[in-house]
Amino acid sequence: MSFFADPRWGEALSHLPDYLGNHVRVSLAALALGLAISLPLAILTRNRPAPRAALLALASIVQTVPGLALLALFYPLLLLGASVALKWFGVSFSAFGFLPAMLALALYSMLPVLRNGITGLNGIDPALIEAAKGVGMTAQQTLLMVELPLALPVMMAGIRTAAVWVIGTATLSTPIGQTSLGNYIFAGLQTQNWVFVLFGCFASAMLALAVDQLLGLIESGLRHRSRLHAGLGAIGIAALVAATLVPTMGRSPSGYVVGAKTFAEQYVLSALLRDRLQAAGLSASARSGLGSSVIFGALKAGDIDLYVDYSGTLWANQLHRTDIKPRAELVAELKTALAKDNITLLGELGFENAYALVMPKKRADALGIHTIADLAAHTSTMSIAGDYEFFSRPEWAALQKAYGLQFNAQRQMQPDFMYAAVASGEVDVIAGYTSDGLIAKYDLVALDDPKQAIPPYDAILLLAPKRAGDERLKAALSPLLGKIDIATMREANLRAAGNDANSSPDAVAKWLWGKIGRP
């Protein structure tokens, strides 16, 4: 009973109009585009074996690309397209969110539609095509009156498969900025909020089921020439679209969009920023779960208005610098560099969230390890785990070089699972984050970096170019600058890692403001 009395169900429900609406819109748009491309292709190639084989091979290859990767690929592709379009044609469009998600999902929907379309059309008894000619049908009449009706059941099966795939895969469009039911799942995974994960899975499954059934109704209507069935199905789909459009129409489009990357601290901070803007009377919403490489581009393009990044990350990834400077100097230099792109570095929040090599305190003491230099002698028999990007970041190369680290195994993990993994001895060392509350919880220790191979990672507030002169925004945010120290952020992160009602990003953000807001 207490499971359903959990207030997080209510919180999840409050996001539903927004998440579901966006999910339905991007899925149906993708499906419509996919059908608009695939069905004519299936029809055009039905009597041409060579292009048909090539087409099916191509669609199969697309299908083997994992959904998440396909979605991720479309972002840089469109970013390039957008810059070319702006330069050559003076047309600007957003490479963020809806467009890349829709295009990738449309591509994803093509295989089942093409394959079933071609199978259905080629499975027709040639004698019937001959009979159609014999009674005086033109090629077009043969297609419309004989081939398509006879291929319909097989084609519809393909369309229904595509619909279910697209609706399922659309949950993965969250990291490229498309709000979807995946927002529940990504946020839930990152903040260990299983209520959200369950809610997201259930909602997308129900949606897929509903659309499948409605398409089934249309199919039965077409097959049995029942206007009632086909009409009901079509009305159902239309009602679904309409229902998802209504709640978003009233919303002001001019609101500030706060971005957040894919980990708990970012969810908490984006909620905090959003609350501050709303408290200042500005309309604001959070766009969470954005990929680390997507988010900076989104800010630069103005798709989001502000977010929190970390100085060392931008230093390495955007400025491509490998040298290391003291905290304040690095931020100052970064500020100047970002200003060239018209991006405002408003200031530091106060804490640093640096990468650190972390291991159980007991084991470190037993082995006499206090610094990374001490660790180097033991690495040949040790394994290390890091998040999905750590091992490809320049910091890792710098660390290995500075200390001569040679681990015998390295593994990638979901950040929130790393700490438990190192505490249980699953791995020996992890590349953790200094602001993470789990370090204290699991009695771990972050090893010193005497050679300063890891750059500083001050949490910094960034504003989009279009907000460079926005004094109201700056005024609303300035009370946060320098206010969040490492201990406070660790505690906030620890709270966010809990699996109860007080651990939702919104609840933790409120707690955090309560803690730092008082003078």
């Binding site: 004698a127 019937l128 000619k133 014999g134 009674v135 005086g136 033109t138 004989v146 006879l150």
Partner: protein, 260 residues
Amino acid sequence: MPSRPMIGYAHVTKSYGALRAVDDVSLDIAEGEFLAIVGGSGSGKTTLLRLANRLIEADGGTITVEGEDIKNIDPVTLRRRIGYVFQSGGLFPHLSVADNIGITPKLLGEPAANIAERVDELIELVQLDGTAHRDRLPETLSGGQRQRVGVARALAAKPRIMLMDEPFGALDPLTRDALGDDYGSLHRRLGLTTVMITHDMTEAILLADRIAVMRGGQLLAQGTPMELSKSSDAYVLELLRTPRRQVERLNLLLSRDGAA
């Protein structure tokens, strides 16, 4: 022979690669005539039939329909003018009996009410049961009923010419006889010109005014059964003798059984 045949083939050829499916065939079919084309499989009889409504295009020679060179007639228009009955019915499985029958008038853009009236007329003409069969799907009919629908569909646009490709070949003997007889009287009553392919010599002799014998793409002989029986060609004589030989063997067997 009248000066203008209903269908006229003059030195018509059609090849598939090295295979000469129809080899220099000249054949006239007069108005009101019932012509049967007989021959073994691969003799070119189906190709010859389909050349007439341009389901297959000839390589050489000239084909005329009602005096007009069919090269000058749009194939779709031509086919709507000529009734065609397919070997296994060729009915559209997703359309009801009525919609199958009314398809050609519908393609010609006739009003729905006229089509419905015509369909009722045709259902009666081919001796189907209007109330029982009209709205059924072809798969629920017997083979004989399906072929009756096929005949009705071919007749729907009131063609003057009927082309039939072994229309009754797949039916049981009793049904085949009944359908053959019924069609024969329709042919006469409606004043049709019919070209029918059959591999059953008895059927050909019983129904047709004239028989054309095809072999290896060539027209071996043509004429009334009587004329053909005087042919000097061994194959033609052999073909023509089959019905009588069968009857003789049958009688022999039956009388022996009766004696025992």
